[in-house]
Amino acid sequence: MELEKILIVDDNEDLTHALEIRLRANGYQVLVARDGASAVSQAAAQKPFAVILDLHLQKEDGLALMQEIHQHSELSSVPVIVVSADCSPITQHKSLDAGAHAFLEKPVNHRLLLHTLHDIQMRSRKPEASKVSPQARPLYDSNIWK
């Protein structure tokens, strides 16, 4: 897995291109897939550290594709960021429950996206940080209120 490679799965060429420019400008290497088959094969070959997936691909169901990615032996732990123009609570929860790392409304707010990507990178560097059990998670330090 390379920490600067991202895969975008979206069939809207113009929107993807704008996103690509933005991500490149922030130092990421961007791969683009227009359909599910190409998404899975590119992800398996290139090992991106995260996948940005449009929920409403023309021919496929985004959630089914996410499941396919997660069931792939080499891709099971790749975080998938789901993006969709439909940001109703039902769609959001469905995506997150199906295993999405995050849900972002389309058009994507790039500050939010960059933050999410940055966060994934930080966790990948320190994998033990995300392995805290709920009981052991300490209460926060009270001085952050100030």
Partner: protein, 519 residues
């Protein structure tokens, strides 16, 4: 084509008439007819309605004046009981007016008793059935057209959004210098593009709102909201625009105004609609004044008013301003909008349980008023807490989430809060527990659940919530959180009155919340 070839099977007729002679006349007339009729009789309306409840005939032959119902009431009651059955009214020779009235009330036709002969009666019966079928088909097709229109509107809005988002994103790329250096002039032009895509996006949102309002899908998520905060947001958003038009925009919110129970985003949307509307019809040098105070008519509501010194609405048009697509001509501003803003505002205010109205004087100005309910814990708590005339035992669970660090972008913090609320909402049992309105602070949010259980029971729920929060990577990475259980004392044994119990438990809930917020 004769009637006998049209009617293949026996026509079921229910005759409701208290006169034995009339019933006999009908029976004899129909026996002579070439068609087959199955007749059923009722002497009183109550008997007729009972028969309609058990078995639906093809047509009802109805005398207006029965022992237990007279005149139009008779038709109304039958229409109410059996809206899908055609009615043929039987009337005495001299009440033609009454018979016509019956047709307006919902009957298909009428026949005068003195003129009953086999042919006339048969024809009237079948025309009534036929006419009713045509009307039903027409109503259904009209309904389908309306549904299609709204589906179409919603589809178009979604389709419009995508290319618009594209334009917006590329303009933003230019502005951020990602396509090379940008000159000051270019920057100005790009900002014009961005401002207009923003405007277009709002119009599309209005279209979507109007479409969902029409199919009853415009929803609100009320919470405890501070009016002053919403008004500040409004001034920040529209202050510069008013200033640019040379209009004075000022707001006065009564001191110590109680909280309202409203959807903050939607309340802001209504205020934006009203102020933007006022901006459209007010000349430079004019004034727009926003006020909020406790309603004089009903202290359970806060009344807002937006007054302008514009040219006013013509008295003939005042009643129409809330209609969808209503357009006032000769707006001062060239941006006339879609004519949906006020219709959406009305829908939103009514969803909150409030009212919206307008007063206007030509040449002097216009004032829009609307009301929103005051936040009241008892009103929210009692439906969930009262069982069999008693207040149930309950425990408050507090979920406190804090912004992980100050550099976290606002957008990330907002989505985190939403996600937390969503998780908590899905952990609770809708018929047992109650999600209380959340409280927002600068860098933290407190979500409260009123669990319908004693402390050990509530602890299980608390653990479940904590577990779900811990399982979400989005939350774990952006915020810190803690959960706690705050038991409420049992109702004092001497307290018998239910309203007293509700007030008492609400005070205890407020105490518990205050304690959680302060800790």
């Amino acid at each position: 084509m004769s009637l006998s070839t049209v009617v293949m099977k026996a026509t079921q007729v229910l005759v409701v008439d208290d006169s034995a002679a009339d019933r006999n006349l009908v029976r004899l007339s129909l026996q002579e007819s070439r068609n087959v009729y199955n007749l059923d009789f009722a002497e009183r309306l109550s008997e007729g309605l009972e028969k309609l409840g058990k078995h639906m005939p093809d047509v009802v032959l109805l005398d207006l004046n029965l022992p237990d119902s007279q005149g139009q009431e008779t038709v109304k009651k039958v229409v109410y009981q059996a809206p899908d059955i055609p009615i043929l009214v039987l009337t005495g020779a001299d009440d033609d007016v009454l018979a016509l009235e019956a047709v307006r009330t919902g009957a298909q036709d009428y026949i005068v008793k003195g003129h009953i002969d086999p042919q006339a009666l048969t024809r009237a019966l079948h025309y009534a059935i036929e006419r009713h079928q045509l009307l039903t088909a027409l109503r259904e097709s009209r309904q389908k057209q309306l549904e299609f229109k709204d589906k179409f509107l919603s589809h178009v809005s979604h389709e419009l959004r995508s290319p618009l988002a594209c334009i917006h994103q590329y303009a933003e790329l230019f502005l951020d210098g990602l396509a090379g250096p940008v000159t000051e002039k270019q920057r100005g032009y790009l900002q014009n593009i961005m401002r207009n895509t923003g405007q277009l996006n709002r119009l599309i949102n209005d279209l979507l709102d109007a479409a969902s309002a029409n199919v009853g899908k415009l929803t609100i998520q009320p919470a405890r909201v501070q009016v002053a905060e919403v008004v500040d947001q409004l001034l920040q958003m529209l202050g510069p625009k008013a200033e640019g038009q040379g209009i004075k925009l000022e707001a006065k919110v009564a001191k110590s105004l109680p909280y309202v129970y409203a959807d903050q985003r939607r309340l802001l949307q209504v205020l934006i609609n009203l102020v933007e509307n006022a901006l459209k019809f007010t000349e430079a040098g004019g004034e727009i004044a926003l006020r909020a105070s406790v309603s004089r008519d009903d202290p359970h509501f806060i009344q807002f008013s937006v007054a302008d010194t514009g040219r006013g609405i013509h008295p003939d048009n005042v009643v129409r301003v809330f209609d969808r697509l209503y357009q006032e001509e000769n707006a001062v501003s060239t941006r006339r909008g879609l004519g949906l803003g006020l219709a959406i505002s009305q829908e939103l205010v009514e969803q909150h349980g409030g009212k919206i109205w307008v007063k206007s004087k030509l040449g002097k100005g216009t004032v829009f008023y609307f009301t929103v309910p005051v936040f009241s814990l008892p009103a929210i708590v009692s439906p969930a807490m009262v069982r069999e005339g008693k207040v149930r035992q309950a425990t408050v669970i507090a979920i406190e989430i804090a912004r992980g660090n100050q550099s976290l972008p606002d957008e990330v913090w907002e989505t985190t809060q939403q996600r937390c609320r969503g998780i908590v909402e899905r952990c609770i049992l809708p018929d047992k527990d109650l999600l209380l309105p959340a409280m927002h602070f600068a860098n933290r949010e407190m979500i409260f659940v009123l669990a319908g259980a004693d402390q050990p029971g509530a602890t299980i729920l608390e653990k479940r919530i904590a577990g779900q929060l811990a399982a979400s990577p989005q939350i774990e990475s952006t915020c810190l959180y803690r959960t706690s259980c705050l038991p409420l004392p049992p109702i004092p044994p001497g307290m018998k009155e239910l309203s007293q119990q509700v007030d008492w438990i609400c005070r205890e809930i407020e105490k518990a919340i205050g304690q959680a917020v302060g800790s």
